[in-house]
Amino acid sequence: MPEMTLIDAIREAMDEELARDPRVFITGEDVGKRGGVFRATMGLYQKYGEKRIVDSPLAELSIVAIGIGAACAGLVPICEIQFADFIHPAFNQIVNEAAKMYYRSGGTWNVPLTIRAPYGGGIGGGLYHSQSVEAFFTHVPGLKVVIPSTPYDAKGLLKSAVRDPNPVLFFEPKKGYRSIKGEVPEGEYTVPLGKARLARQGSDLSVYAYGMMAHYAVQAAEQVAREDGIQCDVVDLRTLLPIDKETILASFKKTGKALIVYEDNLTMGYGAEIAAILSCDGFEYMDAPIMRLGGPDVPAVPFSHPLQEAFMPNPHKIAAAIRQLAAY
């Protein structure tokens, strides 16, 4: 099975979907000849032409608005937002139009739109190239929110997102674009939306994470298993909305202890919802306070390298939290 990087898997998914369905097209800033700022669409313009791979103005509102209109008219758009930090001008289009279209039209109109956006810090991107924005959108019924952590899942989930009849936000951990590698089978496969994945098995405690933090959580779990004999379940959530309560609770019922990791600001972050599910539906299985490890509540990921490191959860910090929780 060929090994590839996260970004290669994402490109391959788009390539296959473009080939499979002529309604699929890509639009975004520099996605055409340039192949995208991260090279996610590299070579696709040359392969599918300017009508399928469409460079957009520097206006995120319009990228998404064009996507919504095209989707309603029968096309299957993949909109790229160059950095998740830039998605905010499109917030109204996503939340007020895309998310509500099917509902307010009584099921007459649906929006088979995929919005791809690299998110997250740790790449020296500073305030406007490091943000995590998932919590804004996981609050909105009508949207689906997906964050892969492995090349296999990235490809399978993106294909599912493209084929989904509803708007899907597909956030990609940009720090892992080239640092995360994994085996991706040749040929057609998809990974279903709405299903979490048990990335690692252990009975001492459960670590819940997604994206880059899921990747780190597995590393941390391996480290504490090696050094301390602590065995963790690592639940890679994969799809944040809809949320896979079943898998989340199954792990918790086994271990009774939960550590939730996300790099977004801690307060009101996505992990709070996991904590709420565990404390409500898993109360009788609870053996320790539910623990969250997240970014500090500061306005942005700092540009300064030491400050960025201080902000970002990493395998070392996760391992420390695992040890603390295991000892409780």
Binding site: D204, G256, F283, E284, Y285, M286, D287, A288, A327, Y328
Partner: protein, 435 residues
């Protein structure tokens, strides 16, 4: 300057108390004399008042922990005042003992259980205090419970009768029946074990294990200590004609009631005990290795049966009280005992005890001495009985009289039979000649 909260002496024979509940937590403000904690001692539940106003800076004794008097329980002071993380530096700290067979509790958090641990304990009927916690601060974790269960693993729970293989010959394969019949007697069964090991009651009998209350444990300890380890008990029995006492009681009940006092026979018995104790102070004494301590006062302990045990409040300076004073004390102490509102002071200082076991119909009993006292008087039920009396002319007559049996059980180290009988003669005469 931080103020220490110390486990007080809650009774003279009471050397330890169980911290049953903290009423203030660390960080909470408390005013001087405001209750800061609830304490259960052998015989009384009470509250400890804060020795000073301030903020609770540290708590050193967990709920449920039993500590000796003088143990440092907590520290009160002003916020940010430095206090020791552990009380080891304080000379007042005494050796801490947890109720057996509990492992020592490492910290307050050891007394808190997570939902999963609580649920598993309920499901498997586990006494969590028996599990040594390996979690933070001695916390019992889910894994600790699992390990405990694995260690306790018994053969599966008893099957319903219809689930069990039949025991009769009808249910046995024929070859097994015949094999048994043909076997030589010597080889048929293994010899019975010479020293059968003591099986837990549940192994042989089905039933329910009722956990002991703190009071039950205390009573058990005191009874064993008094009767088996301290005092050689001896009992003398007297018969008392209650005619005059009963007549006085009937004549004065309403009169007392008008003064707001409920007159009971117990008041008369207490009065008779006082009279007898004054006549024979040796029986109102305490044995010590240095000598016999004879108090100047008669403080009569009065056994009161409770739903879940027994408690003995003390009528202080009973020698100074007349019948109405005694009746008032008897009624007040009994009512507060049943309402669990006795104060530690109410239980202290007894010099002799009265138990009116007749109220539950008993005719005769040999009670156990309430240490460190030397004697206990037991009175049975007053019953009408035919008795032979002699009239002024010397004629024997058969009469129906209200009678009771009264006993004095006393410490034979302290006194011999003649002294005990002398005591009881006064007791008897007091009641028989009540004016």
């Amino acid at each position: 300057m931080p103020t220490n909260v110390i486990m007080p002496q809650l009774g003279e024979s009471v050397v330890e108390g169980t911290l049953s509940r903290w009423l203030k937590q660390v960080g909470e403000r408390v005013e001087e004399f405001e209750p800061i904690a609830e304490v259960t001692t052998d015989k009384v539940d009470t509250e400890i008042p804060a020795p000073a106003s301030g903020v609770v800076l540290a708590i050193y004794v967990a709920e449920g922990q039993t500590v000796e008097r003088g143990t440092l329980l907590a520290v009160i002071g002003e916020p940010d005042e430095p206090v020791a993380a552990t009380p080891s530096a304080t000379p007042a700290q005494k050796h801490v003992t947890a109720p057996e067979p509990k492992p020592a509790q490492a910290s307050p958090s050891a007394q808190r259980y997570s939902p999963v641990v609580a649920r598993m304990a309920a499901e498997h009927n586990i006494d969590l205090t028996r599990i040594r916690g390996t979690g933070l601060g001695g916390r019992v974790t889910k894994k600790d419970v699992e390990a405990y269960l694995a260690a306790q693993k018994q053969p599966a729970a008893e099957l319903a009768p219809w689930e069990q293989p039949g025991g009769g010959d009808l249910f046995k394969p024929t070859d097994e029946i015949f094999a048994a019949a043909n076997a030589k007697p010597a080889a048929s069964a293994p010899p019975p074990s010479a020293a059968p090991t003591q099986a837990p009651p549940s192994a042989a009998l089905s039933g329910t294990l009722l956990p002991h209350s703190a009071m039950r444990r205390a009573i058990a300890k005191h009874m064993v200590e008094s009767k088996l380890h301290t005092a050689p008990h001896v009992t003398t029995v007297f018969e008392v004609d209650m005619t005059r006492t009963m007549a006085h009681w009937k004549a004065n009940e309403a009169n007392f009631a008008a003064q707001g006092v409920r007159l009971t026979l117990t008041a008369y018995f207490v009065a008779a005990v006082v009279r007898a104790a004054q006549a024979q102070p040796i029986l109102n004494s305490r044995w010590t290795d240095d000598g016999l301590f004879v108090p100047k006062v008669v403080n009569v302990g009065m056994a009161v049966a409770l739903e879940d045990g027994l408690i003995v409040p003390v009528i202080k300076n009973a020698q100074d009280l007349n019948l109405i004073g005694l009746a008032r004390q008897v009624t007040d102490l009994a009512a507060r005992a049943r309402a669990k509102q006795l104060k530690p002071d109410d239980l202290q200082g007894g010099t002799i005890t009265l138990t009116n076991h007749g109220v539950s119909g008993s005719l005769l009993a040999t009670p156990i001495i309430n240490q460190p006292q030397s004697a206990i008087v037991g009175v049975g039920a007053v019953t009408k009985r035919p008795v032979v009396i002699t009239d002024a002319e010397g004629n024997d007559l058969l009469a129906i009289r209200p009678m009771l049996y009264a006993t004095l059980t006393f410490d034979h180290r302290v006194a011999d039979g003649a002294l005990g009988d002398a005591f009881m003669r006064v007791f008897k005469e007091t009641l028989e000649n009540w004016q």
